[in-house]
Amino acid sequence: MQLALGPVQYYWSRTDINQFYESILSTPLDIIYLGEVVCGKRHQLRAADWLELARTLAEVSDKQIVLSTLTLLESNADLNWVRKICDNGQLLVEANDMSAVQLLSEARLPFACGPAINIYNQRTLSHLMSLGMVRWTAPVEMSGRQLGDVLNACGSKPEVELFAYGHMPLAYSARCFTVRHLGLDKDNCGYRCMEYPDGLPLFSQEDEKLFVINGIQTLSGEPVNLLRHYPKLRALGIDILRISPQWLRMEQVVAAFDSARRGELNPDLLPQGVDGYWRDHAGLELIARSGADSTDGCHT
């Protein structure tokens, strides 16, 4: 199985972004997605800067570099950003919204569909494949059983990718929750989300970490972690596992998944997280410490 690094969800400075991708080059990841996927106002790197970074990475490394597009488009300016990414003329694009699917399919270019595209059944998958989709990352709320149902019904299938580690993107809004928390307004946001490189945690009044606020995006409070399910993922026919970028300990996460694919699965290397969605339960359910296999939702 291949290992992919998803796009950075948070707002990191240009320097931090450059350093981050430089450090990633020496990891055993096979695929790197990059680009702004959350907020069209973020401007440390604009479309042209992402394109330049992507091209540079593609030149110096043998990893596959894929450009990811914005998820929630709200203006013509956002659409123009997406258009520039789609028109890059060289690298595969991951569409995170139907706007990008339209632009890419119209240009008869192959494309990947990110987890925010609503592909829940085989017929939708086939339709998008007929338009040029070559890779599919399943929606984060899909269970192993459901994914198996879709894949079993497929005659031909695209490359299948699964969001296997990291805080899951759960929702997108017009409202910026970071500036709401700070008492500012969105038009004068001061790009304050940059102060929270792993987002701003939101707790219930009983101190349960429910969500992470990241500008207009809401992420899961706990990271999904499907490491212990690795053998099942492989048996199901998943081609690529996606790891979502985080500020700290990125190499440790990559190393744990890399060990698994080299036949040395050790869930204790990465004990934290949730896997409820995978098991057909509420997404926030913590990984079962014992008997994980007996509650595994994948019965294919």
Partner: protein, 331 residues
């Protein structure tokens, strides 16, 4: 400007027709529609009666089949499309690409409206659904400012419908997994958000508590109105501050923008609330009928009457309304 009104049952449908709906939208009583609540919606017999009532009064019937077909259960969604086609509904409101492909292939003459659950917010996204499935109309998500709606209307090649009044989704519809993260059931696959089976109301030492699948959503003092525990309207703690971190309990009301929406070429106004009572539907529909008639007559001189404002506030979540994302400062 067409007034599109909700009905969760025949009494609400009658109320909508009697009070001036141009079109009424309904769903079948299963997970093929986004208001899959117990005791709500239509079976084949009541749907047929709904159609008869609609036809005898010269109105339109739309059928919402606007969840995403579950893997392994595509046939149930397909059957819902067949049932809506058998009814000769005036339009089907849909979001699932595979299902729209089926509807287009099998019933090429049937009008397709793109559901808000498909979350199309750009000219390119609208164009995708127009070219692939020939959609006639799209319902816009409640995430766009008035200026953005105007921008979109200027470039759109399909009719646009926007939300006028009702519960406020603050997340882009069809792209929100908050409910399934906490309860295992989602709007996309189950047609429910914060499902009733997961809700608990409990009097604790610290006041009345509302919970969703055990997770504390809010805690109310004696003098506070306890609202339904929807995840995006709970009170949470961020950086030590207890607050409505996402949104307060409130309803959307865009009535004040009617002249601008009309000038932008918006073809229809949608009222939310298939889960609401016939009395609610009657009051809200009548109020909007009067307002739309007034804006058609007076154009830019339209003013929201106090009486209308009062009726809508009374029927709002938390007794308050907002312009939501239409109004930039809200964002």
């Amino acid at each position: 400007m067409e007034l599109v009104c909700p009905a969760g049952g025949l009494p609400a449908l009658e109320a909508a027709i009697d009070n001036g709906a141009d079109a009424v939208y309904i769903g079948f009583n299963d997970d093929t529609n986004a208001r899959n609540f117990g005791g709500l919606n239509f079976n084949d017999r009541s749907a047929l009666r709904a159609l008869e009532r609609i036809r005898s009064r010269g109105r339109k019937l739309f059928v919402a089949i606007n969840t995403y077909a579950k893997p392994g259960s595509f046939s149930r969604w397909q059957a819902a499309v067949d049932r809506a086609a058998d009814l000769s509904a005036d339009a089907m409101i849909m979001a699932d690409i595979g299902l729209m492909e089926y509807a287009r292939d099998k019933y090429p003459k049937l009008s397709l409206h793109l559901s808000v659950q498909a979350s199309a917010t750009s000219v390119a996204a609208l164009e995708f659904y127009r070219r692939q499935f020939g959609i006639r109309r799209a319902v816009l998500p409640r995430v766009l400012s008035l200026k953005q709606v105007q921008q979109l209307a200027a470039g759109s090649r399909v009719e646009l419908e926007v939300f006028g009044f009702g519960s406020l989704c603050i997340m882009a519809e069809g792209r929100c997994h908050l409910s399934s993260y906490v309860t295992g059931e989602s709007p996309n696959l189950n047609g429910v958000c914060s499902p009733a089976r997961a809700v608990e109301w409990r009097n604790g030492a610290n006041g009345l508590e509302t919970r969703l699948n055990g997770v504390l959503i809010d805690r109310f003092a004696d003098n506070e109105n306890a609202g339904y525990p929807t995840l995006c309207k709970g009170r949470f703690v961020v950086d030590g501050k207890r607050q409505h971190a996402l949104e307060e309990p409130t309803s959307l009301n865009s009535m004040a923008l009617l002249p601008e929406l009309k000038a932008a070429g918006i073809q229809a106004i949608k009222l939310e609330g298939r889960q609401r009572s016939p009395a609610y539907v009657a009051q809200v529909v009548r109020t909007w009928r009067e307002a739309i008639d007034e804006v058609l007559q007076r154009g830019a001189d339209f003013l929201v009457k106090e009486r209308w404002r009062g009726t809508l506030a009374k029927n709002s979540e938390g007794k308050q309304t907002t312009l939501g994302a239409y109004d930039r400062p809200w964002q």
